[in-house]
């Protein structure tokens, strides 16, 4: 936590500075276009980073978010504290602190993630081109003993991803729809909580991640996500993840997500279904 606090202080100071100069108070984008905060800190849905950029910063504006996410499945509990800072509807910087408690085995796995996302083309709402972003997530595992014991090769790793997202304002049933596709090159085992690379495979793998959502109205969205994952460790098969979510955007300052996730088998413990919740505050 000390490290995160150290990182957050300049961010908060910077934020306060910009708030006081009212450059940020404009919230220049339409509600919900900032999306939610994922388990890895990047803006998106829950499990999948989207091409959306966090906060409501339009061209020439700053914005930021802080978020707390928690997933409770049968044998594990994941908590994520995250913050983002975005500029110019172009850049998104994120930091996340993950803790994964092994409820039945005892102990926990920890990881810090530093992310950056850059919009290369398009706009989420306007024009024919989907919003396209490229991003990095640099991950530093803080509890490498267990991952190393099960065959992980590295305690740090960097995911590289490309995302495309498009919104149809007047889609099927005259509802607003969102679709996002993310392609990620990664060596991470269970996002990196079990380290990077493994005895079974130690090279980058390209993984597909998909999200589709329908806005019932401007404040409520329902959707599904699917995330492919690699298989680098010989000791247990790693499974793809999916979730069904409800997002609530009562106001530009607050967003809430509730999801039912199927994380399947993690580190050999089967049937890891459960509830995921996320609370995001935007400034």
């Amino acid at each position: 936590m000390g490290k995160l606090t150290t990182l957050m202080m300049p961010a908060l100071a910077l934020t306060t500075l910009f708030v006081s100069h009212n450059a940020m108070a404009d919230f220049g984008r339409i509600i919900a276009t900032g999306g939610l905060t994922t388990v890895e800190g990047s803006g998106g849905g829950g499990l999948v980073p989207w091409a959306t950029l966090s906060s409501y910063a339009e061209q020439g504006q700053w914005g930021g978010t802080v978020a707390y996410n928690q997933a409770d499945v049968d044998d594990y509990k994941l908590t994520v504290k995250a913050a983002t800072l975005s500029f110019d509807n172009r850049w998104e910087f994120s930091v996340a602190k993950q803790q994964f408690d092994l409820l039945s085995l005892g102990g926990s796995l920890k990881q810090d993630i530093y992310g950056v996302k850059y919009r290369i083309a398009g706009d989420i709402l306007y024009g024919d081109t989907p919003q396209l972003t490229v991003g990095l997530q640099h991950k530093r595992n803080q509890s490498f003993d267990l991952p190393q014991a099960v065959g992980a090769q590295d305690d740090t790793g960097t995911d590289i991803f490309v995302s495309g997202a498009k919104v149809w304002l007047d889609g099927l049933w005259h509802r607003t729809w969102l679709a996002n596709l993310t392609l990620r090159a990664t060596k991470a085992n269970e996002m990196g909580l079990l380290g990077f690379g493994g005895d079974a495979n130690n090279s980058y793998e390209l993984q597909g991640e998909l999200a589709v959502g329908m806005f019932i109205n401007r404040h409520w969205v329902i959707g599904v996500e699917y995330r492919q994952k690699p298989n680098n460790l010989g000791f247990a098969k790693e499974h793809d993840w999916h979730d069904v979510f409800v997002g609530w955007f009562p106001h530009k300052r607050v967003a809430v997500a509730l999801a039912y996730t199927q994380l399947q088998s993690i580190a050999g413990a089967d049937g890891q279904d459960g509830i995921y919740g996320s609370l995001q505050v935007t400034f």
């Binding site: 404009d26 220049g28 984008r29 339409i30 509600i31 339009e58 061209q59 020439g60 504006q61 509807n89 706009d123 709402l125 306007y126 024009g127 149809w168 304002l169 007047d170 889609g171 099927l172 049933w173 005259h174 509802r175 607003t176 019932i216 109205n217 401007r218």
Partner: protein
Amino acid sequence: MIRACLIGFIIMLALPANATERTLYDELGQKQGISQLMEAFILEIAEDERVIHHFENVDIDRFHRMLSEHICDLSGGPCNYSGESMATVHTGMNISRAEFNAIVEHLMTAMDQQQLPVSTQNRLLAILASFHKEVIHQ
């Protein structure tokens, strides 16, 4: 089973093309509904310090009349928009992306005030969003 679902889905996709659907013009309450909506919209804009400077020398009655005529035309009503193109109208205004979004939000608020259903709101928003490129940074 999957095939049946797929066929059902394709039929649903085809449904909106059905001629029985009401025109957006009707859903907006025809000329009177559009006129009221545009009045509410202009009142919202008038209270916004971020964008009001763009309307300083605008003849509000004419603006309301032209806006209503344009929406009537775009929504399939019995009107022919007689004004200039959106690109021409906004030339020299240098409207930013944030200002465009602010105007969109005022329309959303106005549509909420008129208690228009979500589907009607989305139909109108989709039409107006297509003018984005012709309006910003002109």
